[in-house]
């Protein structure tokens, strides 16, 4: 019964979406306040309907209602509660319901918090948001109904893929989806602005916090995914340039560019058309990511053939969304009035370069990801594009961006002086030389890569500190005054510094891991000793035991570092009987200097077990850097909230509809 209510709620949501698209859009065209007023309640009703549907699906999972086909295929009565819940979005149908839920949530947020938005803009934004929802609700209802019943119901379910039964991956999809789908709002705002024919700083002040929120979640989501791959797949890799990873990375790159260009629109009323285009591109890349992952075209052409409807349906949505929005852009963008002027060497100029580099970087990832599909379609040749390609294209494009990252924030708006900015960076330059030189001298046979990597990290970090010191006028006014300035800096300033420092920390981690990882693979029996670097590992025992829905072989290794007891590590190898699937649970000892990573493979007590040991310097810096970026996003968001209440803004808001009525 509850599943039917869920299904019914989805159908209802579809029809609410139809009204949500048509009525406010018509009302905005006719300047009819009553019709435009329909937008907010429609968005709320839409969110309510989808929330009911999602709740019904979750209920089916929690109560293990195997008469629902989706639950039977992806759950099991013995599965821990957390994974019953995460199972809801761990499969195709459920994840699509989750997708529209987030979409409706963002529409609802505009309805709830957008009281100060001009009526027509608000109506149009909600209408476009409804249109995206309409497309995906249609997709779910026609091709991926999660509430389909099974008769007779099986006694138990087929279980969730054991690799997905992991806390890191339980939260990875929600974060990622909030990020992906969050960019829909930037898209809706862009479309609405094009229809309105105007973009002003007030528009950017609306778009930026939503983009920032989406970006923050996407960053956290990608990081969680990477972290999961690192400890769960048992290979010790954290980024594979796998197409599915790239599918989430491209919107991140474009979203990062959007974040920066929206600042220029907000502060200087310039780069409007470009920002609109970036909003379109960012969300289109999110849609493409959904298409690539959900259609199965990347993992298996066969899945595509089994259910061509699904892939074609999303491809259709993608084509209409990209084609329609770009057409609208081509028609309306030339009419957007150009805003503030700026010299090439200025903060704006720096942000333009930032955008160009990020866009080109996005393009290289795009080509590397899609070229194999393209070649297969054209010639039938099968190729794969792996890490070496991206190292040779993406990395060189990012390097100038890092150089720029230290200089850009030191340039003033409108017109700057490159020499003045660079002179401020002399301490930073010295620091860079010391770090790079230190690596060159101290690390035996240091190849160029780590010298460059740590050098750039030092340069970026030095730039951030210089910029902060400039802001608080360090050493130029009494120290107490400087500290007072530091405390009262706006959240956005902290946000920028944190995110940029995060970049430096991340580069250190990535450089250390990539260049200095050491690996040891050996077969060991109880009592055997393995030596790698300063570490000695003694395999004490391997025991077999049973978990809630799996069996495991758990090894116990006593580790000493330079002869001093260091850690006891217990890697496991699990077998999930329902899916007959083994998984590796690595044991990782993390420290600021890096990870000691141990995994066990197949084996027996007599023949010994395969033990893999990695010493991975600086890996935690990768996650720490990403988390600093997330923290930066949060700080910046807190700033927005403070400023939303400022009287200056509401005055400008109140003036906006009046100005519009006049034109």
């Amino acid at each position: 019964m509850i599943a039917e209510i869920g299904h019914y709620a989805l159908v209802l949501a579809f029809f609410v979406a139809v009204a949500q698209v048509v009525v406010p859009m018509y009302g905005a065209a006719k300047r009819d306040v009553a019709l435009m007023g329909f937008a907010a309640p429609a968005a709320s009703a839409q969110f309510l309907c989808i929330a009911i549907a999602f709740g019904a699906l979750m209920h089916a999972y929690i109560t293990s209602d195997f008469s629902v086909a989706n639950v039977a295929a992806n759950s099991h009565s013995l599965k821990p509660l957390l994974y019953k819940i995460s199972g809801v979005w761990g499969n195709h149908e459920g994840s699509m319901v989750f997708w529209v839920l987030i979409l409706a949530l963002f529409g609802f947020a505009v309805a709830a918090f957008g009281r100060q938005l001009p009526d027509t803009l608000k109506a149009r934004v909600i209408s476009i948001q409804g249109l995206i929802g309409l497309a995906f609700l249609g997709f779910i209802l026609l091709t991926s109904n999660p509430f389909e019943r099974l008769d007779p119901a099986p006694l138990d379910g087929r279980d969730l893929n054991p690799l997905l039964q992991d806390p890191g991956l339980a939260f990875h999809p929600p974060m990622l989806y909030i990020g992906y789908v969050g960019f829909s709002l930037a898209f809706s705002f862009a479309m609405a602005a094009l229809i309105e024919g105007r973009v002003d700083p007030a528009w950017a002040r609306w778009v930026r916090p939503w983009t920032l929120a989406a970006w923050t979640f996407l960053t956290a989501g990608i990081t969680l995914g990477s972290w999961w791959a690192y400890y769960e797949l048992g290979w010790g890799g954290w980024w594979f340039w796998d197409p599915v990873e790239n599918a989430s990375f491209m919107p991140w790159l474009a979203g990062t560019a959007l974040l920066h260009s929206a600042i220029v629109v907000e502060k200087r009323d310039a780069l409007k058309a470009w920002t609109i285009l970036l909003a379109i591109i960012t969300f289109s890349l999110s849609l493409m990511g959904t298409f690539l992952v959900r259609s199965g075209i990347l993992t298996s052409v066969h899945a595509f053939a089994v259910d061509p409807e699904r892939g074609l349906f999303i491809l259709g949505i993608l084509i209409v969304a990209v084609g329609g929005s770009l057409t609208l852009f081509a028609i309306r963008a030339p009419a957007l009035k150009a805003g503030g002027l700026f010299a090439p060497v200025s903060r704006e100029g720096g942000l333009v370069l930032n955008n160009l580099f990020l866009s080109v970087a996005t393009a290289t990832v795009f080509i590397g990801t899609l070229y194999p599909l393209f070649l297969d379609a054209m010639t039938g040749d099968k190729v794969s594009v792996g890490a070496p390609f991206f190292n040779a294209t993406f990395v060189p494009v990012m390097i100038p961006l890092l150089v720029l990252l230290a200089i850009g924030p030191l340039l003033p708006w409108k017109r700057g002086n490159l020499r003045v900015a660079i002179e401020k960076l002399w301490v930073s330059a010295l620091f860079t030389i010391v770090v790079a030189g230190g690596i060159l001298v101290l690390v035996e046979g240091a190849p160029l890569a780590p010298v460059l990597g740590f050098g750039f990290a030092a340069w970026v970090a030095g730039g951030v500190v210089t910029e902060l010191a400039e802001r608080i006028r360090l050493f130029r006014i009494p120290l107490g005054d400087s500290l007072r300035r530091l405390v009262s800096l706006p959240g956005a300033a902290y946000g920028m510094s944190l995110a940029h420092i995060g970049m430096a920390v991340f580069i250190c981690g990535a450089t250390g891991e990539t260049n200095w990882t050491r690996e040891l693979v050996a077969t060991a029996k109880a009592g055997d000793t393995l030596t790698i670097g300063q570490y000695e590992l003694v395999l004490e025992k391997v025991e077999r035991s049973q978990g809630p829905n799996y069996f495991r072989d758990m090894a116990t290794l006593n580790v000493t570092k330079d002869g001093v007891p260091f850690a006891t590590l217990q890697p496991e190898r699990r077998l999930y009987p329902v899916q007959q699937m083994p998984t590796t649970e690595a044991a990782i000892r993390s420290g600021i200097e890096g990870d000691l990573y141990v995994a066990i493979g197949e084996g027996s007590t007599e023949g010994g077990y395969i033990v893999r040991v990695w010493v991975k310097p600086l890996v935690p810096w990768i996650w720490a850097g990403a988390m600093l970026m997330v923290l930066g996003g949060l700080f910046s968001l807190s700033d927005r909230r403070l400023r939303i209440g400022a009287p200056k803004r509401s005055k400008r808001r109140a003036a906006a509809p009046a100005a519009e009525a006049g034109d």
Partner: protein
């Protein structure tokens, strides 16, 4: 600088950067594109001995041999028309099994494929799409047998 000239210079810088990126992409493609071969392709075409390639097919039943206490493996990959011997040093992925699909990356010389990487699968039902296509080509793929 007038807005028009400013826009023009931005577009020019953008084009230069895109051009540089295109050059990077093309060189990288030249060196790093890894082509896929089925065992039949290997038997019919000539592959340079120092070219990195990927092969894929089914692991032949009863062909998996382990040496040096499991650290070195040999197995035969087949598309049921032709077969190729693969040697691999290292630990195989959790889901490596006889009678299932596999993809390996490495070099082919002297009739033996030396793998540097055997690709992990995330899902036991997952059939690498190159393998599925290779098997289809050799006529041994039954539609719908291994659903993704």
């Amino acid at each position: 600088m007038t807005p028009k000239r400013r826009r023009l210079s931005i577009v020019l810088i953008g084009l230069v950067m895109l051009g540089t990126a295109a050059a990077l992409v093309l060189t990288a493609f030249e060196e790093n594109l890894v082509f896929f071969f089925s065992p039949t392709d290997l038997a019919e075409k000539d592959v340079g001995a120092d070219r990195r390639i990927r092969i894929g097919g089914m692991v032949e039943d009863g062909s998996w041999k382990k040496y040096e206490e499991g650290l070195r493996s040999e197995f035969i990959v087949t598309d049921f028309q032709n077969a190729v011997k693969v040697v691999y040093r290292g630990s195989l992925p959790d889901l490596f099994r006889e009678g299932q699909g596999v993809v390996a990356e490495g070099k082919f010389s002297g009739g033996v494929f030396t793998a540097s990487e055997v690709l992990a699968k995330h899902d036991e039902n997952y059939m690498p799409r190159e393998v599925a296509d290779a098997l289809k080509k050799s006529g041994r793929w039954k539609e719908g047998e291994t659903a993704q």
